[in-house]
């Protein structure tokens, strides 16, 4: 490619990369790699994975249904961890957002008329927030989701 994406400051790839890098350095700075107990390692892994998801979702903001759903999930999870009571609060507001999007995109279980119900349902489970989408939007979201996933995977961030 003559114009690498990461040079473009506004591209998805650059946004994701900067965010992810920031998150990773924060994680590495937080915790020295001391213990090798399974739970500790697992926690670290979870943190990194969450950081990756978060960076990706934040790079996309609310432009996409799946990013909104992902952000809601991350937020609700973090709220639940911090404060059990606030989970209800955030859950309600976020659910209102989700319901709004669901009303825009018609009902959840819907015979699309093209006969791909099983595959469409499976895809809905895979793509975050896909339960509330009709097939048309689902395909759209899937395309963007795949694009973001590949961006995340092929980011130049090393692991050393």
């Amino acid at each position: 490619m003559n114009n690498p994406h990461h040079l473009n400051p506004t591209s998805l790839k650059s946004r994701f990369t900067t965010r992810f890098l920031r998150a990773l350095t924060k994680i590495r700075a937080q915790k020295p790699i001391s213990s090798s107990s399974p739970t500790e390692i697992f926690r670290r892994y979870r943190r990194i994975k969450v950081a990756a998801d978060k960076s990706m979702a934040y790079s996309v903001r609310s432009r996409r249904i799946w990013s909104r759903a992902m952000l809601w999930k991350l937020r609700s999870r973090s709220y639940r961890r911090q404060d059990p009571c606030s989970g209800r609060r955030s859950g309600k507001t976020n659910q209102a957002i989700m319901k709004k999007s669901s009303n825009e995109n018609t009902t959840t279980r819907r015979e699309d008329g093209v006969g791909f119900v099983e595959e469409a349902d499976e895809l809905r489970q895979l793509v975050p927030g896909g339960e509330t989408m009709n097939l048309c939007n689902l395909l759209d979201e899937t395309a963007h989701y795949i694009k973001c996933l590949t961006t995340q995977l092929f980011s130049p961030i090393g692991k050393g």
Binding site: I33, I48, L149, L153
Partner: protein
């Protein structure tokens, strides 16, 4: 070339008694000696008068009663291979009977007969369960159907010149169903046998694709069909230009879905499927694969001197799959994947497997560390197959596969697979950039190495 299927063996045994006689009788000059080769040789050369052979067989058949069949079978020829697969069903026995009957007729040289008798024999053959080989019935004229095309040609060619009408009648009598309809007595018999099968398959596949096309066209056709049914005064809409708003919306929706599918096709590898359902399946597998890779990458991004430790991945998201993966520190893993991995052979892997199994029984941590030392990790086979089927070209992260049970399937080589039944991936850092998936796991359920 020896026949491998039962039918082939049956044919072979049937051929040997029946063919030898004509060869001896009718081809004194010709291809004697290598009867076996002749049988399998599609260029069986009817140099001499095979018409006589055919007429002989056809004529002599009806005169002999069925009870006489058993006797001529007793003294077999010296180089004749007795039908070895007696465990087959009754039909095969009847084949032998017919073969012997024909031989007897040939030997006796009986009087005239008609093709009707042959047809009767063939139909009796047909009624035998499961066995449609009536080679002896035709004296090598009719074919054991779909499998033995080579023998079919060898059967056919001797009788091409003479008695074509009778042979054709035999064929028709024998069963159009199994032989894919009537066959022409043409020199290129093998191709003809292939073509009906290929044609059937092609028609089936074409029917599948046509079905989807038909669905769409039917839907649009129905829209145009609906319009004239309502009012005569309304102008009949052209096909694809229905005036009904519902149908227009429907059509728009379908078009949007189609264009989104096309956009997805470019993103997903192996997107050469024409069927929408299979395309969706590909997309699903690809998304699963990408999500899995993200997980693995985040594990390998743990980084640093964290030597390895067992990770119990999130159970709920895996849907109950117990994923135990280990990921070495980037540096150590890098070394491992570049280092001595190519030297791993089957023996060392087997040893590794046993070792890990032993370790697993006592302590997961030590087992995982042992794996890590070799640059391996564990994964459930279902996920690993998802990876291997999702993409075949290079990907940065590669994951070793195992099973979630106590029998890990290990292969450490990232560069060259030592066994094609396992797919081997090693975790690599993204900076390496030379990942590659090798092989593919054929059997997701099997754990042991072949």
């Amino acid at each position: 070339m020896q026949p491998c299927s039962r039918e082939m063996q049956a044919m072979n045994s049937l051929l040997s008694p029946t063919q030898q006689i004509p060869l001896q009788d009718l081809q004194p000059n010709g291809n004697s000696g290598t009867h076996q080769a002749q049988i399998h040789n599609p260029q069986f050369d009817p140099t001499s008068s095979h018409d006589d052979f055919l007429d002989q067989m056809l004529s002599t058949l009806p005169s002999c009663p069925w009870s006489d069949l058993k006797s001529p079978w007793d003294p077999p020829k010296s180089d004749e291979t007795p039908p070895s697969n007696h465990d087959n069903n009754v039909g095969f026995h009847y084949d032998e009977i017919l073969a012997s009957k024909l031989r007897q007729h040939q030997i006796n040289g009986g009087g005239g007969g008609t093709t009707a008798a042959m047809k009767m024999m063939m139909q009796q053959q047909m009624m035998l369960p499961g066995r449609l080989i009536a080679a002896a019935g035709g004296g090598g004229l009719t074919m054991p159907l779909h499998n033995d095309i080579v023998d079919g040609s060898s059967f056919k060619s001797p009788n091409q010149q003479g008695g074509e009408g009778s042979v054709q009648a035999l064929y028709n009598g024998f069963g159009a169903g199994s032989l894919h309809g009537t066959n022409n007595q043409s020199p290129n018999q093998p191709q003809h046998f292939h073509h009906p099968q290929g044609g059937n398959m092609q028609t089936q596949s074409f029917g599948a694709t046509a079905g989807t096309v038909m669905n769409q066209s039917q839907a649009s056709g129905s829209t145009t069909g609906g319009a004239p049914a309502q009012l005569k005064q309304r102008v009949r809409a052209r096909r694809g230009q229905a005036t009904d708003p519902h149908s227009i919306a429907e059509r728009l929706r379908r078009e949007r879905i189609a264009e989104r599918m096309k956009a997805l096709q470019e993103l997903v590898p192996n997107a050469n499927k024409t069927d929408k359902a299979s395309m969706l399946d590909e997309i699903i597998d690809y998304v699963k694969f990408l999500q899995l890779q993200v997980k693995v990458l985040s594990m390998s991004r743990l980084g640093g001197a964290a030597a390895v430790a067992p990770l119990v991945a999130d159970m709920p998201s895996e849907g109950g799959d117990c994923v135990q993966t280990t990921a070495g520190g980037g540096g150590s893993l890098q070394r491992n994947s570049n280092g001595n991995q190519p030297s791993a052979n089957n023996d060392s892997l087997t040893v590794t497997e046993h070792q890990v199994a032993k370790l697993m029984e006592e302590d997961m941590g030590s087992a995982m560390q042992y794996l890590q030392g070799k640059g391996l990790c564990l994964m459930p086979i279902s996920l690993a197959t998802a990876i291997s089927t999702a993409t075949c070209h290079s990907r940065n992260p590669m994951i070793n596969k195992g099973s979630s049970s106590n029998h890990p399937l290990l292969q450490s080589n990232g560069d060259g697979p030592s066994s094609p039944s396992m797919s081997v991936l090693t975790v690599q850092s993204a900076t390496m950039g030379n990942g590659g998936l090798d092989g593919s796991a054929k059997d997701a359920a099997s754990v042991s190495k072949p």
